[in-house]
């Protein structure tokens, strides 16, 4: 069946069974590989995207239930025009292997949209579901604080 998705401001038509998770629609059908497959059971956060600005795990969001505009890591910024949060990630030299970082950044972006100046505890709570095997957590936390300040300063 054909579904129409709005992703990063662009409309896409896909013809797939409705139970296919959004993650695999993005990666395999639309070739948008910034969103990562980590566990398939909502246990790692690598596949985090936004639907209507809310962070969701795209491995558990079926195509037929997508009910709003989708934002992926590609929609947040590009290497030539990074968002404040992505710039903070680079400034803090956060990534090691980098595989989980798309999901970490999407989760952090949703947090900052809700809570512009989060405390460490608020960050820990919001980021609890995003695993990083390289152990970059301290730098992720520092980058979120930096991004919060930048976003507030830039208005």
């Amino acid at each position: 069946m054909a579904y129409t998705l709005e992703i990063n401001g662009q409309s896409h038509e896909v013809d797939l069974p409705g139970e296919v998770p959004l993650l695999w629609v993005l990666r395999d059908t639309l070739g948008m590989t910034g969103t990562k497959f980590g566990c398939g059971v909502a246990a790692c956060g690598a596949c985090t995207v936004h639907i209507d600005g809310v962070a969701v795990q795209s491995c558990q969001t079926t195509l037929e239930t997508v009910d709003g505009p989708v934002t992926t890591i590609e929609g947040l910024g590009t290497p030539g025009a990074m968002s404040a949060i992505q710039r903070a990630w680079v400034e803090h030299d956060v990534a090691q292997c980098g595989y989980c970082q798309s999901g970490q950044i999407m989760q952090a972006a949703a947090l900052l949209a809700e809570t512009p100046d989060p405390t460490d505890d608020e960050i820990d709570a919001a980021m609890w579901g995003n695993l990083c095997r390289c152990g970059t957590y301290p730098r992720i936390r520092a980058a979120i604080h930096t991004a919060a300040k930048t976003i507030q300063a830039e208005g």
Binding site: C44, M127, Y137
Partner: protein, 735 residues
Amino acid sequence: MGRLRTFTRRTFIVGSVAVAGGVAFGAYQVLRPAKGPGAPEDGLRLNPWVLIDARGVTVIVPRAEMGQGVQTTLAALVAEEMEMPLGDIRVEHGPPAEVYANMSLLIPRDYDAKRPGAVMETLYQAMPKVLGLQITGGSFSAFDAYEPMRKAGAAAREVLREAGAARLGVGLDQVRAEAGAIVATDGSRIPYADLAEDAAKIEPPKSPRLKDPADWSILGKSQIRLDQPAKATGTATFAIDVRRPDMRFATVRMSPRLGGGMVSFDASVAETMPGVEKVVDLGDGFAVVATNTWLAMQAAEAVTVEWGAAPYPAETDAIFARIEDAFADKPNITARDEGDVEADGSGDLVEAEYRVPYLAHATMEPMNSTALFTGDGLELWSGNQAPIMLQKAAAEAVGLDQDAVTLHTTIMGGGFGRRASIDFGVIAARVAQAMPGTPVQVTWSREEDMRHDHYRPGAIARMAARLDGGKVAMLTGDVACGSVMGSQMSIPMADRTIVEGIGDQPYRIENRRIRGYAADVAVPLGYWRSVGNSQNAFFHESFIDEMAHAAGADPVEFRLGLIRPEHARSAAVVEKVAEMAGWTGKTPEGVGRGVAFTHSFGTPVAEVIEVVDEDGSIRIAKVWIAADMGVILDPGNCEAQLTGGCVFGLTAAVHGKITFADGMVNEGNFTDYELLRMSNVPEFEVALMANADRPGGVGEVGTPPAAPALANAIFDLTGERVRQLPLIDRFDFVG
């Protein structure tokens, strides 16, 4: 890549060669290890490439990026000598090539090289290496590349100066290399790229002058890694992100009884499911090829299979009984046998037995590779740590010559040693062979990944010591576990990974014997970040703590008393970490502190961990790390690797456990193989020291001391001695 293939294969460049539109520089390095009877002729071998052409300067980094920052640090070695901004350098992972082989992975370094027996172990280990392994592992990349990479950069700089002076018609003393160009005293400036073809005609100096480290402007300073912008924007291409025209997506199922084979399968339902194009019988498993990975995974679930029996005991307890049986055999390796450990002596005997479970690597990017088989050729895209081995094995699997396999090594979403095993790349080649002309990406489910790892071996250690008047009169340690090297190489050998981290530690003890026993358990084993050090540091440093306690001594002072006479660099990191932590040997009620030290991969590292009791649950509050990097190439990256390595070790200590039932691994996903999270990762304070003439390892060395330092801290907090991991089986931790 094609332009590289033509001249890298089996060719050493000592100097420079002209290539299409430019010039390539290489430096050949032989470092002879400690002289001894029959010492290997070849020590370190690395032939780096600096390519200058119309695109600018490209450094061919023959080591794979799996998160350790190697591509940035190795590029920095070249950038420093070439006098150009690091950000202007392009980095490429070269093709598989014997010239990139590092035959020195396990050659003892620093203190370990002086240890009796080290040379003989090296000879055993060198044999498979001579077959030509190009491996990223063993925390060896920077040590290996330190001199040749700088020499290649310096040779390029000197030749470019000569070419620039000739072009400008001025003397060599009138030109300098600066910011990617040759600049004359009158200010005229020629970018390197414009001088490439002239440079190719000039014989480079054999021993170019290397910059004095005091003049370094890039090395020794924290750099933003070159891969950060791509990784922050989702544009970095991991193997799983490779997309080819008309590609298909597949998943695989191999026997969950590892190596047990497949008796029969019925795919009749799966074949009718949406998107499914083919079910491939691999003999020892099957793959489903579909238009979408998820559809392939769903169809794989619908295949009914009868798997064969496991070639090892079916239950965890029976596996450990088999490991225990190994103690009755002859030792596989004797790492130390000094003085007389059998002599009757006075004093107190201290004995303890320790156990650790099997562990999975659990890289965030599940195993995957993409392959295109065309009948007379195979193209393979794979994030791997052993390209020559993979190329050879993939060629054999599909009946081609090795030369007919083109391998692209991508960046990896975590390696930790898992991707030094090459099974996942070979499987992709076999699946692609069934779909000639169609590129196929084969992605493992998380469950397939966790249940088909090459595991860190489960191990048992029996330790004994005699303490006489507070002095260690005798120490013995016997370790039994499966042989990682035997499992990886399929040839029996003396395996120093069974005893590394226990048989090679710089403690002065006159009567000491450390032996390793290879258990006959056919569970596939692999290199797990820090390999044998990961379990043996837990055994050794926990027992050192038990000895200190039995002797009524402070754990830091007890260690220093034994390390100071043996190795000053090691003693210095223990002193440093004690100073950083304000170690007094006393902690208030509700707080515990533990210390541990390991010398691994040429780098001494000491860690102090503080734990706090929070309503009966343990919080890992703070970690202090002191490490002697030898030479600090990038302090920010060293700090990241040390803390990341420590988190890796803490995760294993608290949660890590792979168990077996009916021959199959129980744990399948992060729901039952838990990792530390942001909310329970401690605060870190790191001190870097630099007391050697070349860099030691950094990627793995933070891991070994983590488990024993935590266990020793928990003993300080609770009075309960931990002799078995993981800790979560016995203690509650703050989530």
